[in-house]
Symmetry: C2
Subunit: 456 residues, 2 copies
């Protein structure tokens, strides 16, 4: 009927890729293919709540093809792009046998956890980037508490109830707060042998404060609140080694069941395929119009791209790796592709910083905007409201809201099921019992075990 | 203060074990330890909805220690009993180093999938007894559909969209109905290359009718409804061999991506540890008072036990392996333990059959009671109501109700996320492409692909 539609290939259904796809989706001049390694868009800011058993995976993630079902010009494929051939404008998929050619390519596959050259630490730690990783953290912690209830010595019990979080950014802070609540409050009445106040949550940060992207006052507030909640917050603390179930800080060795690595993000390996300039962190360097400077047909967005902005005072800074940047870049990339297809001049990216926020725990959060800083309950309400609005799926907005209301009033977190083998098994093995078998039925129950019988 | 409490050890937190534990929990003369292999009680009748991505795991399962948190005389332990020593009244746990001694033992660990001696079939099929197995079925089916969307030949696409269900009991029927809805309706608008009417659901039953425990009229109704929904129902059909992705029926070979085994349940291996008489299926033979005839201190309940009842017409039959039997046995075992502890005469088990039901699909179910048989919408409403009532957790009752209402009106099933590597990988590998790489972007989109664009 008309000229053949231009084919836009979008790789990655995170905030940037989805924003670009949605912006182009209504436009009949384009066909869009969206390739995503998993089959879902993930609302990453709430991922730590899946790890903490507060939310279900399906409440913060939606199948990509459901989100895009009403756009006939969008095809969604599950797959991983492994090679990029800019000269022939095509990419190769994981099985090595299928290729996809494009008129414009939008790459937005996110960042990759970085271990600062200590890749051997990966085997002993858990990350928090995907649903699968969130579920792995959940299984590890729930499992270790079950084993603690059966543990035969006090030291073994305490080890099984110790979690070390490495990195005092938003992920580390939100996990620490959530974990303190889970262990001190939510499961308080559930165990007989464990004393919940024996659970240790240790948050390690190398610099002199938590949440370094926020104003100093808010960092201080956060550290104080976490400490009140029972988290062992340690600043100026550099990890020197990690072994199975052991975090070394110089001569000190912390024995624990779970180690969460939330300390570093670097560029995605796929950026190397682009044959373009990368920054020191391995991110592809892009123009203010968001495409590679080497190739106006390849856009590169979000955590896998490097772009600096000039602030009001004339200083420059690298754009932060947050959802807002990704979403705004996705929208502008889509606009620029339309402009480019019409031989018009491209627009320049200008980041509109609407402010940042982080939650610490129940009724407690911080928020920082150009106009004001908020802490405590007002910040927490703002956090709830904004996060609910940005969840993609209407059903999930309802579900998350009702689940939050439920757990707020009942202290019950629903998703505490152990359904899979823990990823890091070694740290869950109890130290071998050298003597004769122990009879668990002889365990004395103490009134201090947090049992509500007396006051119930 | 008083005489030491008797120690009751309950193994298994299914319907029988949980009923026994709850009945004893208030009684100060007893201490109860409940050992469960997972950490949760599972509402098994809705497990197929987890497999079909209609419900989340946490909506049909609750942590055992949460359910029992208010009873100070109940200790819950996660673990697996591996040995039973009736002479010394103690059991050994999985690590081999911990034992638990008892005054009375209540064994209720359920049944085990039986392959009629063809244990090599297990590797190629998926069962449906645990949450983990339900999630494995879900991942396998979702994954195979994603690969079908990328498939290069029509035959490969159809193979990837074919599911074979072996066994025409309630599990097979409910899965067949759910799967037909999922593939024909729920995902109808989500794919571009797949035609949902190419999806094949094949239900194989060896005998002359489905649901042999129900009246013949209802079996007929079920088969007709399933056929209308697009299920290929085959009676009198015996599987002769199973290979990876292949079901053999004599000379016919059905190539498929997913094979679900729902054909047989036998006794649990733990019954062999009891050193007592077993029936042909490996179930422990118990007295009408529900303990082993060899040992009045060991009760054995539910699917792992064999007991016959005498019907009104004087005939005898083996009690069916259903939740009602398990719950009623759990309650009576608890009563009998109290009676035994007080040297009183034990009560005899009398099964009160409240009727059976099975759901076929949206607005369609069958129910059979002593007074009437129901089909269609009335049966479906009864099914919904009764299943909601029996879900243990109040929050889960609300969640399941709202999720059912949502999916009924919107045709959206929320939990369609691929989060883990599929269990049976071999059948998901595409046949090797001998020629040159295929460019997927060249795929022609047809209007027959179920796309709602025209009417949207």
């Amino acid at each position: 009927v008309s000229a053949p539609a231009l084919h836009i290939l979008v790789v990655g259904a995170g905030f940037a890729g989805l924003a670009a796809t949605r912006k182009l989706a209504g436009n009949k001049n384009f066909r869009i293919t969206l390739v995503e390694r998993t089959n879902h868009h993930l609302f990453q800011p709430l991922l730590y709540q899946v790890a903490m058993a507060g939310l279900n995976p399906s409440e913060i993630a939606s199948p990509v093809r459901s989100i895009l079902r009403k756009y006939p010009n969008v095809t969604s494929l599950m797959g991983e792009v492994t090679q990029i051939d800019r000269a022939n404008r095509q990419v190769t998929l994981d099985n090595g046998e299928q290729t996809i050619s494009y008129d414009y390519l939008v790459l937005a596959v996110g960042g990759k956890t970085s271990y600062f050259g200590k890749n051997e630490w990966e085997a002993h730690t858990l990350g928090l980037k995907t649903l699968d990783e969130a579920l792995a953290i959940r299984q590890q912690i729930l499992h270790s508490f079950e084993l603690a209830e059966r543990a035969e010595s006090e030291s073994e019990r305490i080890r099984l109830m110790t979690t070390v979080l490495i990195g005092g950014g938003p992920t580390g802070v939100e996990m620490a707060g959530g974990l303190a609540e889970l262990t001190r409050s939510v499961i308080r009445w559930d165990f007989r042998n464990i004393r919940p106040d024996q659970a240790r949550v240790i948050l390690l940060e190398g610099s002199d404060r938590l949440l370094s992207a926020f104003p100093e006052k808010l960092s201080k507030y956060t550290a104080d609140r976490l400490t009140q909640m029972g988290v062992d917050v340690r600043l100026h603390t550099r990890v020197t080694d990690i072994q199975a179930g052991e975090v070394h800080i110089g001569d000190e060795v912390i024995k624990c069941a779970t180690i969460v690595w939330a300390a570093g993000v670097g560029g995605h390996p796929l950026a190397k395929q682009l044959n373009c300039d990368l920054d020191r962190g391995g991110r592809a360097i892009i123009t203010p119009q968001l495409h590679l400077k080497e190739d106006p047909r390849v856009y590169c967005l979000g955590d896998m791209a490097a772009l600096t902005e000039t602030l009001a005072d004339g200083k420059t800074r690298a754009l932060p790796g947050v959802a807002q940047v990704a979403m705004q870049q996705g929208a502008l990339a889509a606009k620029n592709i339309v402009l480019a297809a019409n031989n018009k001049e491209l627009l320049t990216f200008k980041y509109w910083d609407k402010g940042s926020m982080a939650t610490i725990g129940r009724s407690s959060a911080i928020a920082s905007t150009a106009y004001a800083n908020l802490t405590g309950f007002p910040a927490w309400m703002a956090w709830l409201f904004i996060h609910l609005i940005y969840i993609v799926d209407f059903q999930n907005q309802l579900l998350v809201l009702s689940r939050w209301a439920w757990s707020y009033f009942t202290w019950k977190w629903g998703a505490r099921l152990i359904t899979r083998v823990p990823k890091i098994d070694a740290t869950l093995k109890a130290n071998s019992n050298e003597g004769s078998p122990t009879d668990l039925s002889a365990t004395e129950k103490t009134e201090s075990s947090g049992n509500p019988s007396s006051g119930d």
